[in-house]
Structure formats: C-alpha cells, structure tokens
Symmetry: C2
Subunit: 220 residues, 2 copies
C-alpha cells in the first residue's frame, strides 16, 4: 500500500519522465513537488526499496514497470475525478485541479471503476489530457501546439499544455475552449504574436499563449 506522499512522488516522476529519455533529476522532482532536494533523496530511497523506481546515486531515477502502472492509476483517478467535477457537479475547468489532487488518493478500485462507468468511460479530462483505462492503456491523441502551426491554417482546440487556472481563465476570457475553431490569420515576425480568428471576432495572442494551446489541423 502506498502512502499519500509516495503516490505524489510517483505521479510527479511519471509526468517528468514523459518529456525525456534520461532519468528524472532530484532537483526536477523537488521543484515540481515544491520540497527540498534532500527530502526527495529520502523518498527516492523508499521508492527504490519498494521496487517502484530504479535509482543510482547522482544519476536520477526512472520508474519500473510496477511504478509506471501505479503512477498511471493515480493519473487515471485524478482525471476521472476532474471529469466528474466538471460534467456532473458543474465546476469550471480552472477549478478542478486542487480538489482532484486530493480525490486521486482515495483508495478503492471499485470506486474508480464505477466512477469510470458512471462517466461513460471518458478518454479525456476537461483539459484534453488522456485518461488511462483500467489496464493502464493511454489513447494518445494526435495534437500539436498552436505555435507549431503555419499561417492560414484552420485548427480546432483540443487541449492545453499549461492547465493553471491563470491560463484557463485567460482562455475563458477570450472564449476559447476545447472544440473552439481557430483560424491563423497572421503571424507577426517581430514577436511571433498570432492573430487568430475565432467564431465572431479576431484577437492577437502572444507566442506564450500559442505555445500552451494544443490544436488539431482541420484544413490547410
């Protein structure tokens, strides 16, 4: 049985290892969990003992198969609860993260599988992130960052890279949500700001915004 804290470390290592091939560094984990590197080293030793990660001093960590599955189950729970909060309880997509951080630690396989059925087996959470199924399988969706798309292309918004409430509220303010069709009207060479066409209006967004929006091309 994993503790609350062990689960958080596994989840964090899982997320960090997606972006890279090498082991995840102590400092990277510490930054994400907002704790000290020395605390991370302590926990790394525990997870290593439990065979959930592979660890060599000073060389970072990687998850074992067992560790990956445990991490996926936590991610599964987190994202299913997010769907529940938005779809059933009427939370906005910028309000669900912190509550889901708590709910993801509830220990009951039956609960999570019944919740999954109740929600009709969603494959994505409210931010467009994939939900692992009960076997840990993740259905990857074809998506690109808006910042990688050429001018005069029509795309649909399918996810966000940054799911902080600040960014999500920015999107709300500009009426951008999952499913919103976006047309890239212009890209300013000087600062790479994007002028994009939405339903009724046209707005200009910074490179930073474009680098945090996942889209799928509809037509060139």
């Amino acid at each position: 049985m994993l503790t609350y804290s062990e689960e958080n470390y596994l989840k964090t290592i899982f997320h960090l290892s997606l972006g890279q091939k090498k082991g995840v560094s102590t400092n990277a984990i510490a930054a994400k969990i907002e704790t000290k590197a020395s605390s991370v080293t302590d926990m790394i030793k525990k997870l290593n003992e439990k065979q959930l990660i592979k660890y060599q001093k000073y060389q970072g960590v990687t998850l074992t198969a067992e560790g990956i599955m445990a991490a996926k189950m936590i991610v599964r729970k987190h994202r299913l609860w997010e769907v529940f909060l938005v779809e059933k309880l009427g939370f906005n997509w910028d309000e669900v993260h912190d509550v889901a951080e708590e709910l993801e630690h509830i220990k009951s396989e039956k609960l999570i599988n019944k919740l999954d059925a109740f929600l009709e087996y969603p494959t994505q959470d409210p931010h467009g992130d994939p939900i692992p199924n009960a076997k840990g399988e993740i259905k990857l969706v074809d998506k690109q960052l808006l910042s990688e798309i050429d001018i005069n292309t029509k795309v649909v918004c399918v996810g966000v890279k940054d799911s902080s409430s600040e960014f999500l509220q920015y999107l709300d303010k500009h009426k951008i949500s999952l499913g919103t069709v976006i047309e890239i009207v212009d890209i300013e060479p000087f600062d790479q700001s994007y002028t994009i066409g939405l339903h009724q209006h046209t707005i200009t967004i910074t490179k930073k915004i474009a680098s945090n929006l996942y889209v799928k091309v509809i037509s060139a």
Copy 2:
C-alpha cells in the same frame, strides 16, 4: 485547518456524545478509533488547545460549539458521499462505509455543496441517518427501535442502528430494506424473539436484530 486524524477524533467524540449527557471518556474514544488510551489523551490535548473540545483531566471531554460544527460538517460529508455511492454509482448499502471514511476528509466546501445539490439535497443517507445541511442543522426523524414496538403493530423500516456490513447483509438476505413494511406477528416471551410478517413471508428474528432496526409505526 484540521488534520485527517483530528477530524476522526472530532467525529468520534460527536457520535459518542449523542448517547449521553456527561463527557466522553478516553477509553470510549480509544475503543471506537481502535487506538490506545494514551494516544487519545495526546490528541485530546491538541483539540483542547484548538478550542474544539472542553477538557479537564480525568473528566472526559465535550465538544465546544466550534467542535460540534466541525464534527457535523464531517458527518455531512460522510453521509452525502454515501448517498452518492449508492444512488449514482450503484454501490450496495453495505459497501459504502469504508470509502466514505476516506472521502469525508476531502477539503472543499464548494465540492460538498455542489455534491449536495447534485444529489438534490438528500436528508438521509442510505442507512436512514440524517444528513446535516450546510448550516449544520439536522432534521431529526421520528423513529423507534423495532424492539420497543408492541405486538400486532404495523411499522415501516426507516433506518439501522448498526450499519456494519454483516448486519446489512443479514437484512439483504431477508429482503429487509428502508421502506420495507413489517408486521409484528408475535413476540416470544422466553427469548424475546420476534416473528414478523414481510411482503410475502414470515420470519423469526432475534432480539438483537430487533434492537438494531429503526422503524416508524404505521398503524396499531
């Protein structure tokens, strides 16, 4: 902010104090929480510091107004989650207690009030126990133990005193649930066993069973 453990103590003291006028004893708390009396004393000191209970050495504890409200909010959460598990996720009433014990500690007032609305403001949980509203008000329902009812009376089952899965499964086996009409056909003087009429059949139950079923009289 209360810890998980502090919340469990408050809830336990709340439940134990309902049955009596005097302060709740250390041993009673220890028995319910399944811990040692010395651990209880330690926690009592913390809760006293936080002004959630009134405490005098060797004299047991009583909750302060603030402590009562905190306890009621935990009970509220526990029972609302139980309703959710049964009504929405299809759990049986004997399966929900342990999961609700975890869910009751999720910290979000918004969550619990939205859950309350989603469930359409239930006033009772799956075992017939009252659910405190957002203000902490509890709607007491008129009920008696089946063991207190006279012969030749028709009653309806409205709750259970013991909500252990063993007892609930016994009731399931005999097709007794909330709303079941029960007619007291006979009471054996020797062992106070009850012969009761249900929908189609008649069964005999022990005094112990009758002492754990809450009913409401329909007619004499």
